[in-house]
């Protein structure tokens, strides 16, 4: 395949696939496409050829806002030492077995 001329022209899309009824859509990967319809069809051909899905979402990558790795300290570390935020301090009655 040639060097990617399309990366300059066609936007990047993120693909989310639901594998079965009742499951969430999961991020499957990304691809290039000229428009949403083409993105859906490309996703169908690239990511569901082996029966991996029953529903596809695509979203243009530029519409996804991500947290910055540089800020991960103040973003995530403070939650590290707050075990009391887990619901693990209750005493459960004997009869409740499956919680």
């Amino acid at each position: 395949m040639e060097a990617n001329p399309q990366s300059e022209n066609w936007p990047l899309w993120e693909v989310f696939i639901r594998a079965r009824q009742g499951l969430d859509h999961k991020h499957a990967g990304s691809l290039y496409a000229a428009d949403a319809q083409m993105a859906l069809e490309n996703a169908r051909d690239v990511y569901t050829r082996r029966n991996e899905g029953i529903s596809i979402w695509v979203v243009e990558s530029k519409n996804i806002h991500a947290s910055s790795p540089a800020e991960s300290g103040e973003f995530f570390d403070p939650a590290n030492d707050k075990v009391y935020r887990h619901p693990s301090f209750y005493i459960l009655p004997e009869e409740l077995k499956n919680i």
């Binding site: 990617n4 399309q6 066609w10 083409m38 069809e41 490309n42 051909d45 690239v46 050829r49």
Partner: protein, 257 residues
């Protein structure tokens, strides 16, 4: 060979030859995603071809039980004049526009034909067609969108579509010309005469061409057609395709993966 078997082989050959043509794109597609898309369609078509070849082989073996013909014999050991595919589907890939238009013309035809054949009193034939229709609907949708995208795209893409139309339009007429096995299929009600698909085919195709800002095509136009793929009279392009496709089986008969 009985005529009805030829009718089935005609369906098989169309699918195999176009599938093989599309597979020539594998690794050469304009972008990765479309490379996979066209290869997928190639696989769909080769799958359809297998079903038809198996059915044809079954019929041939029923007729003369001493022979043991397989789908591979039919695909890999017949000569050019025995192939009954349309001249349209053996045309070279050319550029992407040419490949897309060839797919669009053929899939539109296949969709209408298989819709009829899925009511055939021959259960095997009906089942194969019904199974294939889902795939074909996608092929029509996919190729229609590309025709529109290129036709109504840039000056260059529009020009390439016009060029593709010039290459391929001469081969449309054959889609609707009946030969002996069509008459047989019609008489036994196994199949239909292709003429009855003509009006709807032109309507559907022209609707897309219009949306694509391309010139529409007319069924009235007389074409000087000396070739007839259905009768085994092919263009210069089938022979080299077969040479490449069949070389392995012919060099090492009976070899398997």
């Amino acid at each position: 060979m009985d005529l009805l078997t030829n009718y089935i082989l005609h369906q098989a050959d169309n699918a195999l030859i176009l599938g093989h043509r599309n597979s020539e794109w594998t690794g050469h597609g304009p972008i990765l995603e479309q490379d996979i898309a066209i290869s997928n369609i190639a696989l769909d078509l080769i799958g359809q071809a297998r079903n038809f070849y198996q059915f044809a082989a079954y019929r041939l073996n029923e007729l003369s039980p001493s022979e043991k013909i397989t789908e591979d014999d039919l695909a890999y050991l017949r000569d050019e004049h025995e192939f009954k595919n349309f001249v349209l589907v053996e045309q070279p890939n050319g550029d992407w526009a040419n490949t897309i238009l060839r797919q669009f013309y053929f899939s539109s035809y296949q969709l209408l034909l298989f819709r009829e054949l899925s009511n055939s009193p021959y259960p095997e034939l009906a089942a194969i067609c019904e199974k294939s229709i889902k795939e074909i609907r996608y092929h029509v949708k996919w190729s229609s969108e590309w025709v529109i995208r290129l036709g109504d795209g840039t000056e260059e893409s529009h020009g390439r579509m016009l060029n593709a139309m010039q290459n391929l339009n001469p081969w449309i007429a054959e889609l609707f010309q009946p030969v002996d096995f069509d008459y047989e299929a019609d008489e036994t009600e196994a199949g239909i005469l292709p003429e009855i698909l003509k009006d709807e085919w032109y309507q559907r195709v022209n609707r897309i061409l219009e949306t694509a800002t391309l010139p529409t095509i007319s069924s009235e136009k007389k074409s000087m057609q000396l070739l007839s793929g259905k009768k085994g009279v092919h263009s210069e392009y089938l022979e080299p395709l077969l040479a490449e496709m069949q070389v392995l089986q012919r060099t090492y008969p009976g070899s398997q993966w």
